[in-house]
């Protein structure tokens, strides 16, 4: 097909069957049920439920929906059809790295030897699983440039919490209890200050400079003997690499502090720059962002941390150790040889099957891993250069894996970032991140990721250009977007002010 053919956004929009679906409680009718056990077939004495359950016996029936099996299946299938996912189309949600999840990851995670393994199985029964975890730790250490790893944290925010606990334990072990502050740049994800506060630190906010990055002078001014460390995201939330990172880390180290790096944006620098090499002491990975494990409705996630030698003694247990044997190495979970450990931060060993997927992804790329970042950065810069002719790029110059636009090109037309985002739904794309980062007015943050083809990225750009033309021709039209979505503008304000979260609330409201 000719590359010259102009993309017509309306061709993307499908008008297939749309099934309305009530709440499952509204489908309920007394007496309906999924299946009936034929009592006549039972050859057992009936159980006296009241006597068997004692105090646990409930007098009133639970108010559960009474529906048939096909009704349950259809209910959830229909709801799933309202969904938009990375398997449906482009998902350019900046700062989230919504890359495609290769299906081979799923195949590996479903191997019975992994999927059906019991977490209480003794070490000698799960050598393969322990080997995978050990090797994944080694791979993450290689990518981070740091010597030790813990896979235990359940997700990025818990990785932050655990990493900061390591920093606190490090200072306390040195007998230094005066360090009560953590420096956090104003562009950081909200989880950064939250993790610091949760750890009992007070947060010192660092303003970003005019180019959106952190300046060594600002860090030097904030640094003193009460500062336990600095939390930084690199590349930062604006999608810009912190070029002064080495000097910044040096300033913190000279002042006796440690540097935590939020690895949310690792997708831009895989195999290109190693945090351990530019001075980071501890960092987490978001395996669901960087290593293509699914973003699954709040979980399960994975937030492994890598640390420098100073912080290694404090890592959670169990640690996984490898001992060379006569025929093959032996792997074991070690609890009792790390007296300074924080202890456990998560049951068992984190979300194991998520790590099977991350390991598969890393092994699939192997030494080609840097190409992930090359293509992610190329795609983002293509969007920046092409869309920058119509929309206004918040910070000039090359970006990394994501690009932030502000609303200055359409605000004067009476159109908001929300309108642009909503209209994009009509063109068959998930909207980008909006109104974040907070220090950009009407921010629109696009992260195409490396998994999108040039054609797909061009289609996205054409849709965005078409929306800008619509904004110029008829701003009112955009206030009513989306036109074709199943649900149009939901009343987010009322949902937040007067939330109805249960069926009982709904019924009584």
């Amino acid at each position: 097909m000719s590359d010259q053919k102009r993309f017509r956004p309306e061709e993307r929009v499908s008008q297939g069957l749309k099934f309305e679906e009530p709440l499952i409680f509204e489908r309920s009718r007394p007496g309906k049920c999924g299946f009936v056990l034929g009592k006549a077939d039972w050859d057992v004495e009936p159980v006296d439920e009241v006597a068997a359950l004692g105090d646990l016996y409930r007098e009133e029936a639970a108010e559960l929906p009474e529906v048939t099996e096909p009704e349950v299946v259809r209910h959830f299938t229909r709801l799933s059809q309202w969904n938009y996912s990375i398997d449906t189309g482009l998902y350019p949600l900046g700062s989230c790295t919504m890359k495609y999840n290769p299906k081979v990851n799923e195949a590996m995670a479903r191997l019975p030897g992994f999927a059906r393994l019991h977490p209480y199985a003794p070490d000698e029964w799960c050598q393969g699983a322990l080997e995978l975890l050990y090797e994944l730790e080694r791979l993450l250490c290689a990518v981070s440039g740091l010597p030790a790893c813990s896979l235990q944290p359940a997700a990025g925010a818990q990785g932050e919490l655990t990493g900061l606990m390591c920093i606190r334990a490090y200072h306390e072990a040195r007998g230094d209890s005066e360090r009560t502050k953590i420096i956090v740049p104003d562009s950081a994800h909200g989880t950064n200050p939250a993790s610091a506060a949760f750890n009992g630190f007070s947060v010192v906010e660092l303003p970003s400079g005019p180019d959106g990055t952190v300046s060594p002078e600002a860090v030097a001014a904030a640094m003193d003997e009460t500062v336990a460390g600095l939390m930084i995201t690199n590349p930062n939330t604006m999608g810009i690499f912190e070029k002064e990172i080495q000097e910044i880390c040096q300033i913190v180290h000279d002042g006796g502090g440690k540097v935590y790096m939020d690895g949310a944006n690792m997708n831009a620098i895989l195999g290109k720059a190693r945090p351990g090499d530019f001075g980071i002491d501890v960092m987490h990975f978001n395996v669901h962002k960087t290593f293509s494990t699914p973003h699954g409705g709040g979980g399960p996630g994975g937030g492994p941390i890598c640390v420098g030698a100073d912080l290694e003694p404090f890592l959670p247990v169990p640690r996984i150790e490898k001992v060379e044997g006569k025929e093959s190495p032996r792997y074991s979970r070690v609890y009792d040889q790390h007296p300074q450990t924080l202890g456990k931060v998560k049951a068992f060993f984190g979300n194991f099957l998520v790590y099977v997927r991350a390991y598969t992804y890393l092994r699939e790329y192997g030494s080609d891993l840097p190409k992930v970042s090359e293509r992610a950065v190329l795609n983002a810069n293509y969007v920046r250069a092409r869309l920058g002719e119509t929309y206004h790029v918040a910070y000039p110059g090359r970006c990394m894996h994501e690009v932030v636009f502000d609303d200055s090109s359409y605000k004067g037309l009476g159109v908001s970032t929300l309108d642009v985002a909503k209209r994009l739904i009509d063109y068959g794309f998930h909207p980008p991140t909006t109104y974040f980062p907070l220090n950009v007015e009407g921010a629109l943050m696009v992260e195409p990721t490396e998994t999108e083809s040039l054609q797909e990225v061009k289609d996205f750009i054409a849709a965005m250009e078409a929306i800008h033309e619509e904004a110029e021709a008829n701003p009112e039209f955009l206030h009513e977007a989306p036109k074709s979505a199943f649900r149009v503008r939901l009343d987010e304000t009322r949902a937040a002010r007067k939330p109805v979260l249960t069926y009982r609330q709904f019924r009584d409201s």
């Binding site: 909200g190 109104y435 974040f436 907070l438 007015e441 987010e492 304000t493 937040a496 002010r497």
Partner: protein, 129 residues
């Protein structure tokens, strides 16, 4: 919306109105509520809390974002706008009157003079932040 003449403003977009008895009423400016969008929740301090100038004393949550509230002056909280608990939209509808947030008994009344007046705030807004 016209910026009220007798109000004083901080660079964090809080206003303070001198009540003439050593207390000020504090809220957020029309510009701030407009930038935040529909406000869905205001976390208020307790009466009796000590607040310090430029330190956070509460939180305002909108459909777009969550922001800290910074005290324009130091002192003690002597009243809070309890109506905001059920009707946070007052901050949007009436930022300078019904949407007031707290009253503070000033511990350093001179701080009030250091805030911008209406004209200064207007200039501050047109200069961008």
């Amino acid at each position: 919306m016209k910026i009220p003449e007798e109000y004083r403003f901080s660079k964090d977009h809080e206003w303070a109105r001198d009540e003439g008895d050593g207390t000020v009423t504090v809220g957020i400016s029309h510009h701030a509520q407009d930038a935040l969008g529909d406000i869905v929740f205001v976390e208020l301090p307790a009466v009796g809390d000590e607040v310090e100038r430029e330190q956070e004393f509460g939180v305002v949550e909108s459909v777009k974002t969550v922001s800290d509230l910074y005290a324009p002056v130091s002192g003690e909280v002597v009243a809070i706008n309890e109506e905001l608990e059920d009707a946070p939209e007052l901050v949007n509808d009436s930022p300078y009157e019904g949407g007031w947030i707290v009253k503070i008994a000033m511990s350093a009344p001179g701080e009030l003079e250091e805030l911008m007046d209406a004209e200064g705030y207007d200039e501050f807004l047109s200069g961008g932040d």
